[in-house]
């Protein structure tokens, strides 16, 4: 997990501090120590200031729990992020302190385990920080759920008072949604997407760090609500129950604000990165589907999250400022809360689902060695779900007493959104057809997801039908539905993603048998826990009740036992993750033989991911075609000093030795005409030489059947010869045995000639970009692949034309 440092680019490797000089005291520099004292001081200071102001303004009593809590939490939270160091650079910028001559990247990259506990601008470190933090809250939220199931195991109230019970499921859902599912996807995306795009980091690395550090603040707010009387109006927090609720309500509101801010900042980061930082050649239609998914999700986050922030602020203001947003005795309207809340919270479920869809597309294609079925339709349906997601919110409000005419249109839009979702499920299943399926743990979770998500989706269709919804809304049928789509849906995809990218993130392989055990335990006990809830709901068991009629005792007892087993299965996962990180087998760069960019770099990746921007030359799902590449990654590896360059060795060799050397070299055929002197091509060949000993034959086919505009063939041939010679010289200097000739044939026939006389192991074809290349227009690469059945690599050289032909 300690990454290889890149030797080039002049990056200086400092563990701490800026460009030398004595380190400041731990109390004054960005650190946990400073975070703790600063947040305490700012929190208490804000509380005190508020009380002084209240006394001065004549409010009595000066201490009002809601008001004081609000300011204390806001400033303590802010103080924590200041203290830990998120704002240091910007502060230095604002006050005009001298900046180093160039960025020393002193808080970028994981050089030791300590870096994971500090402010770090490396998206890979932030990704891991997110994942570990969210799983801590997953465990806390899960334990709260076990508390719920313990109480529901038998009728009657055994362990918790009704108030505490209400708090258990409220905090459970709040943590799972805002502190687990949404940020876990942010974390996985954070790690993978910049590398997948060919970028060295996200667009705004410091903002990225701030986004992460707001998350523990949000979690602390919500969990510490138990100290003052936890919020107990459900995570949905309907007015006016929430307005009259215990002091923990304030903690929930402030927690949501921090989590929302974190989420929005991350989404902005994703959007800018995806739109502006894709590698050359990566058009939107060559983006992996995980990137599409995060593009749509980030749009939803940016547009929707302010609404839940607003709704919770309204509740807060009703509580602490005596406002009457939701007070019908003073002109307020209770149902408005639900409209504002659900306007975010419905897109929120797509925020919790779409990144998972992206993960599944990746995992299914790679582990079944097949292109994703219907790539364009999946990409379009992802965007469609994002857009339609804003038109269906009132399906959560069919019985709310809202304007009755709104129900039927909302039902139609809800039904509409089922269609793109169904298209995706069918496409994923079709991806498996005629694949070569490796049932690794991520693949098992992906297939398990397909099974459970189709059930969750179908129960959603039930709920969309208004008369049926009128019966089962607010019953255990809804609880079953939400857990099928959020656990069987989102959580299964999170597990799939973590297992799939575990080797890349940690540089270790996880234990496959433990992974499979984890999958089967989770799958079996998940279905056993939540399937019966469909029947409970249809029979009339309401949700959010602490006690129920004894006729449902047996079913509830069974569900509770299965729920405990489901919780226990998480322990297998946690053990596997921890133990494998410590002692697992070292992971190769590409254990899954995948095509996307993150698998073309080491495991774990170099600190700055790439030495130079990779070039994208094909689809990310081009499985099944020999030699098809998605991208060419060029690594700047200087030649090892002890190696004798091949041409020198050959010159000194006896004929027998020469025979031996030549037969040990892989023969690479390079085909280029106008681009033969391109630096890209030379670098690509050198890269090839770095991984295998090769000898290179370069041919420059001159005669293209449609090159009717060539006037002076001799001059053109001479110019090509000159370029070829320069290229051969460059290759030889780099230690690659290279010969070449200008050939007066068309490229297709020229290649076939060489394939007959001196068969190469691989072919590299270098062309101009697609829009300027005659060879690309004539589909040369695909034809060569079909005919020769050899791996054909395609290098794009974007150089201004130097010939007289254009």
């Amino acid at each position: 997990m300690v990454a290889q440092a890149s030797e080039l680019h002049g990056h200086e490797l400092h563990a701490e501090g800026h460009g030398g000089g004595p380190k400041r005291s731990v109390w004054l520099r960005g650190s946990w120590v400073r975070a703790i004292w600063l947040s305490t001081v700012m929190g208490l200071g804000a509380a005190l200031l508020v009380m002084v102001l209240r006394r001065w303004a004549g409010f009595s009593p000066a201490y009002d729990e809601g008001v004081v809590d609000t300011f204390m939490l806001a400033f303590a939270g802010l103080g924590f992020t200041i203290g830990i160091g998120c704002w240091d650079y910007w502060w230095g910028y604002i006050i005009g302190s001298a900046t180093p001559a160039h960025e020393d990247h002193s808080n970028h990259g994981a050089y030791s385990w300590r870096d994971y506990f500090k402010v770090n601008t490396d998206h890979k470190v932030i990704g891991v920080q997110y994942l570990v933090t969210t799983f801590i809250f997953f465990i806390i939220g899960g334990m709260l759920a076990e508390g719920v199931r313990a109480e529901l195991a038998t009728p009657g109230l055994q362990y918790f008072s009704p108030a505490t019970y209400n708090a258990l499921f409220s905090v459970h859902a709040a943590l799972m949604i805002f502190l687990f599912v949404i940020p876990a996807f942010a974390g996985l995306g954070n790690f993978v997407i910049p590398i997948m795009l060919g970028a060295q980091d996200m667009a705004f690395p410091r903002l990225n760090a701030l986004s992460f550090w707001m998350l523990p603040v949000a979690g602390m707010c919500m969990v510490s609500s138990f100290l003052v009387g936890p919020f107990d109006a459900g995570w949905t927090n309907y007015a006016s129950l929430s307005v009259h609720g215990p002091p923990g309500q304030t903690f929930w509101v402030m927690g949501v604000q921090f989590a929302g801010a974190s989420s929005i900042a991350t989404a902005v980061n994703f959007l800018v990165t995806i739109v502006t930082m894709r590698a050359p050649g990566m058009s939107f239609w060559r983006m992996p589907l995980l990137v599409w998914a995060n593009l749509a999700t980030s749009t939803l986050v940016v547009l929707g999250t302010p609404f839940i922030a607003g709704a919770q602020f309204q509740v807060l203001f009703d509580r602490i400022m005596g406002m009457h947003f939701f007070d019908p005795t003073h002109g307020g309207n209770i149902i408005v809360y639900q409209h504002v809340f659900w306007f975010y919270s419905h897109p929120a479920v797509y925020i919790m689902m779409l990144p998972g869809f992206g993960i599944i597309s990746e995992v299914l294609a790679i582990h079944s060695r097949k292109p994703i079925f219907g790539y364009k339709l999946i990409a379009i349906s992802t965007v469609a779900i994002g857009v339609l997601g804003f038109t269906v919110w009132a399906h959560h409000m069919f019985v709310s007493g809202m304007a009755p005419w709104l129900r039927v249109p909302m039902m139609f839009t809800t039904m509409a959104i089922a269609v793109p979702t169904g298209i995706k499920i069918f496409s994923w299943v079709a991806t498996l057809w005629r694949g070569v399926i490796h049932l690794t743990t991520p693949m098992l979770f992906a297939c398990g997801f397909l099974f459970t998500f189709v059930i969750g989706g179908l129960s959603g269709v039930f709920l969309a039908v208004i008369p049926v919804d009128i019966n089962v809304t607010d019953t255990y049928f809804v609880v079953a539905h939400i857990h099928y789509v959020l656990f069987g849906g989102s959580v299964f995809t999170i597990y799939a993603g973590i297992y799939h990218w575990y080797p890349k993130m940690t540089g270790r392989m996880y234990d496959e048998s433990l992974g499979k055990l984890h999958f089967w335990l989770t799958f079996i006990f998940f279905n056993a826990t939540f399937m019966p809830m469909h029947w409970l709901g249809m029979e009339g068991m309401m949700r959010r009740i602490a006690d129920y009629p004894s006729k449902w005792a047996d079913m509830n007892f069974f569900i509770s036992i299965c729920a405990f087993a489901l919780g226990a299965s998480t322990l297998v996962f946690l053990y596997n993750m921890a133990h494998s990180w410590w002692k697992g087998a070292p992971a190769p760069a590409n254990p899954w033989r995948a095509l996307t960019l993150e698998w073309q770099v080491t495991s774990p990746p170099p600190i700055f991911n790439f030495d130079e921007p990779p070039q994208i030359v094909g689809s990310p799902y081009a499985y099944g075609v020999p030699g098809a590449r998605h991208a060419i990654v060029t690594v700047h590896v200087p030649p090892a000093p002890e190696e004798i360059p091949v041409p020198v060795a050959l010159a000194r060799a006896t004929p027998v030795q020469r025979e031996a050397i030549m037969s040990a070299l892989k023969h690479i055929l390079v085909v280029a005409n106008q681009t033969v002197a391109g630096e890209r091509l030379i670098a690509a060949v050198r890269s090839r030489a770095a991984t295998d000993p090769i000898r290179v034959t370069v041919i420059c086919p001159q005669n293209d059947p449609t090159d009717t505009w060539v006037v002076d063939q001799a001059a053109v041939a001479a110019a090509t010869r000159a370029r070829l010679d320069a290229t051969l010289a460059a290759l030889r200097t780099a230690g690659v045995e290279a010969t070449g000739s200008v050939v007066d044939r068309d490229p297709y026939t020229a290649v076939l000639d060489v394939v007959e006389s001196d068969p190469p192991a691989e072919i590299i074809v270098s062309t101009l970009p697609r829009t300027r290349s005659g060879w690309m227009r004539r589909d040369l690469i695909e034809r060569l692949r079909d005919r020769t059945q050899l791996p054909v690599e395609h290098v794009v050289v974007d150089e201004p034309s130097e010939t007289t032909t254009s």
Binding site: N166, S240, T329, I334, G422, L432
Partner: protein
């Protein structure tokens, strides 16, 4: 060609499995729902049937192809090859876009028709006012002289329009009767309505379906569906018990037992003589002992009276302040409170 027929074979097998599943679901459905006790419920159950049938088919198709693929195309050990480079199939994609559109549109249209039928008010329907408050239901029959009752009784076969209210300072509740398959939120400040036509005699549960606080699980009541003649008799008897049309919520009678029920005490308290089993508030079965412990310097009667009109003054340990309404001092008459006090002290001993 071989794989095309494999595709067709799997498709047909899963389709057949889906249809079998649909038939089984239709057969079992009555066991999965409470007996349909109303006209709206029957219409809804038809929708359930169609939903189950279509779901069964789609599920079997997806799970079938999924399971078959996982088995048939799994990699043999050491197989490092790639699968077939199939990027899509336009015909298939068109089919599985068009057919779901047809299916969901059909459901939406059918649902709209059922909804309109369920909610269209017919001539001669009756009106019942329902008040939901923490944590009890109360019912008023406006056309029967605003008769106020603590349980809901309805005549067989007559459409009822429930008009739902909550006190403006209360929270959202949801009035739901699973046997009738109807429900609607009860919102302070916004009157709502829900319509049902009971067609089956019997006793059914009324529940609260929206989290309303610590008494949410206890907020239950009873619906009794009677023959019209029996119902008329029941109404007459209730009228006798209530001496005059009440302006307040409590029924106006000084019959303490009736007041206890109609004021909603049984929603939160346990009191054996009234058959109440609520656990939101303290047990009232031994008020004398409670008065001795908490009512310093007061007679038990004074203590109990104070507990009714000013519940926040002394809170029994283990219970929260602010849950019990503090409005009984005005919503009940002094005579009612006096009757309640002696009823409570006598009952528990």
């Amino acid at each position: 060609m071989r794989s095309v027929s494999a595709f067709a074979k799997v498709g047909i097998c899963t389709l057949v499995a889906g249809v079998i599943g649909a038939v089984l679901a239709a057969w079992w459905l009555p066991d999965w729902l409470p007996p349909a006790a109303g006209v709206e419920a029957h219409r809804q159950d038809t929708l359930y049937l169609w939903l189950l049938a279509v779901s069964s088919i789609i599920f079997c198709l997806v799970a079938g192809f999924l399971g078959y693929s996982m088995w048939k195309f799994r990699a043999r050990p050491g197989d490092m090859s790639d699968g077939a480079p199939i990027h899509g199939h336009t015909g298939l994609e068109i089919i599985w876009t068009i057919i779901p559109i047809i299916i969901v549109l059909s459901f939406a249209v059918a649902a709209t028709i059922v909804l309109n039928r369920n909610e269209s008010l017919q001539r001669g329907h009756m009106v019942v006012n329902v008040t939901g408050r923490q944590f009890d239901w109360a019912f008023t029959y406006p056309k029967r002289g605003h008769l106020h009752t603590s349980i809901l009784a309805l005549p067989l076969g007559r459409q009822v329009e429930f008009r739902l209210h909550a006190p403006p300072t209360d929270v959202i509740h949801s009035f739901k009767i699973p046997a009738l398959r109807v429900g609607e939120d009860v919102v302070p400040g916004t009157p709502t309505t829900v319509v049902a036509t009971p067609t089956r005699l019997g006793t059914y549960i009324i529940v609260c379906a929206e989290l309303c606080g610590i008494g949410h699980s206890q907020m239950r009541n009873i619906l009794v569906v009677m023959k019209p003649a029996d119902w008329n008799r029941w109404i007459a008897k209730q009228k006798q018990l209530a001496k005059a049309p009440p302006p307040s919520q409590s029924g106006g009678t000084t019959d303490a037992a009736a007041t206890f029920k109609s004021a909603g005490c049984s929603g939160c308290h346990t009191f054996k003589p009234a058959g109440a089993t609520g656990t939101v508030g303290p047990d009232l079965d031994d008020l004398t002992a409670s008065a001795a412990k908490y009512g310093k310097g007061e007679t038990p009667a004074q203590y109990v009276r104070e507990s009714i009109v000013d519940p926040g003054k002394v809170v029994v340990s283990g219970y929260q302040n602010g849950i019990m309404p503090s409005t009984f001092g005005t919503s009940l008459t002094s005579a009612q409170i006096t009757a309640l006090v002696s009823y409570l002290l006598k009952g528990g001993g």
